[in-house]
Amino acid sequence: MFITFALITLLGALGMLLQKNVIVAGLFMVAAFFGVAGLFVLLANPVAAALQVIVYTGAIMVLVLFVIMMLNSHEEEKAQSSRPVQRWVSVALVTALAFGAVKLVLASPGLKALAQSGAALPEAMTLQKVGVTLFADHLLGFEVAGLLLLAAMIGAVALTKRNL
């Protein structure tokens, strides 16, 4: 099960990276987000999985696809200069980062101990537990998040309106 969702996630992400057409790349992103939601279910966290599907695939990706279609930028524009050095440096950097970090994760004894001590599947996360923690311990953070969303909404309208 884990390997299926991991493959959906990683292949979706890789398809996004390699795809020429921006809309198809966006649809690959939707597949990757669904894969991540599946991983959250396997992590005994259906609340996070539902939020992932609603917010990421339901809101953010729809917004992105909407903007792609509105600006009519389906294809990547032709490069003004090809910049081969920068491209190779970034490819080398990203591969070095990925390989180095994966090697560190696999070699770490602390992570191995944690994986063994917490191997038993915990009780599934419920909305009630999340709500109690949210309003008991993080009430201020919750209010600030609401204010931030309001500010972002007003900012987005102000930025896109032609003459305010």
Binding site: L10, M16, V55, V91, V102, V105, A145
Partner: protein, 109 residues
């Protein structure tokens, strides 16, 4: 469980490897693609990688609900970033008629 087994069976290391590779792919999209919308999707991918790692650690520490609350805050910020970021892309398109980040290299018109 040996290293390879832990990855294939969905041990903690398996989730962390998926998160790391997801982050690397997102970073590659930001560095290699020139369309701003593709770079934006790369940023979203990197945010998601952080979420996967966070919730994997929470599950192996006995299903802590604090992590889910943090995840809630992270997606609230991601939604704000999406709205403002896409508004900026639209603003750039209005002024320069392009969504290519290379063509927006100077501050002057």
């Amino acid at each position: 469980m040996t290293g390879m087994d832990a990855i294939l069976q969905g041990g903690l290391q398996g989730y962390l490897v998926v998160a790391l590779l997801l982050f690397a792919i997102g970073l590659a999209a930001v560095l290699l693609r020139r369309t701003l919308l593709m770079q934006f999707m790369g940023v979203e991918l990197m945010l998601n990688a952080a979420n996967v790692a966070l919730l994997a650690f929470a599950r192996f520490r006995g299903g802590d609900s604090q992590a889910t609350v943090f995840y809630l805050f992270i997606i609230a910020v991601a939604a704000c970033e999406a709205a403002v970021g896409l508004a900026l892309v639209i603003g750039l398109y209005r002024h320069r008629d392009t969504t290519d980040s290379d063509r927006a290299a100077s501050l002057k018109q």
